[in-house]
Amino acid sequence: MTLNDIMFYLFAGSILTFSLLTVTSRRILRSAVYLLFVLVSTAGIYFMLNYNFLAAVQLTVYAGGIIVLIIFSILLTSHVSEKAVVAPVRQQIFSALAVAAGAILTILTIVKFVFTPTTSPAVDANVTNVGRALVSYNRDGFALPFEVISILLLAAMVGAIVLAKKEKHLVPSNEPNTNPENPSKS
């Protein structure tokens, strides 16, 4: 067993462990942190696969951006010490069963299926190649998805702002005494 193997199983192990912890931890903030570990480990996998640019994006956007966003929202919506309400046991069992069945099915399919890799020479996924492909509008270029994504991001940004902005009388408040100290806010 090479070091590479060990590295892989280490990453895989941490991904699975922290994934499980993410979805089972009763403290939301901890879940977020566990998620961060999962994402970082995933980035490690990408590194191992030699997709350095992707791994970097994964680290910055996911681990850096999204997790921060999530943590902020957690802090906004609940107390740090607050424990998440757990679903009823029945729901957990059924979900687990369904999930297990799904996983087994999928894995069985994967195992049974014979993959045939292409024999064409590989392309190195270095930053140059990636960058070139990203803005190329040739047959293997990704200029159009790139633009689409940029528009999507813009739209998401605008949407997020609009949604999160406090709007007056969005829902008529049934409890006018909720914020008695700050009536001008609502």
């Binding site: 193997d5 979805v23 939301i28 977020a32 191992m48 956007v61 996911y62 979900s95 392309v123 969005l170």
Partner: protein, 105 residues
């Protein structure tokens, strides 16, 4: 570099991650943790894309770019979702998904 690790190992890893994500989505009551489960799912899918790219079609970078796009989508999705969550929280004083059955009316 990692050629001796079989493709199936990656796929099984991503499958498990995917279903763990689904499990989380099904069982967590908190909207934010559900969102995190979705991130897990997306992540597992990303792994698949990348691995297929690497092992089966190294002559292209399609899987790689797909992952990139997914990450971007995930980011914007997270942003919008969190905006919605905050909005919901403001209106319902709760982000427990069980309280949010107004949709059926």
């Amino acid at each position: 570099m990692i050629d001796n690790i079989p493709l199936n190992a990656f796929l099984i890893l991503s499958t498990l991650m995917f279903f763990i994500g689904i499990y989380g989505f099904l069982t967590r009551r908190n909207l934010i943790t559900m969102l995190m489960s979705i991130e897990l799912i997306l992540n597992s899918v990303n792994i698949n894309f990348v691995v297929f790219n690497k092992f089966l079609y190294p002559n292209h970078l399609h899987g790689h770019f797909f992952s990139l796009i997914v990450i971007a989508v995930a980011a914007s999705e997270a942003a919008v979702a969190i905006a919605i969550i905050i909005n919901i929280y403001r209106n319902f004083k709760s982000i427990d998904v069980d309280n949010l059955d107004q949709m059926k009316l």
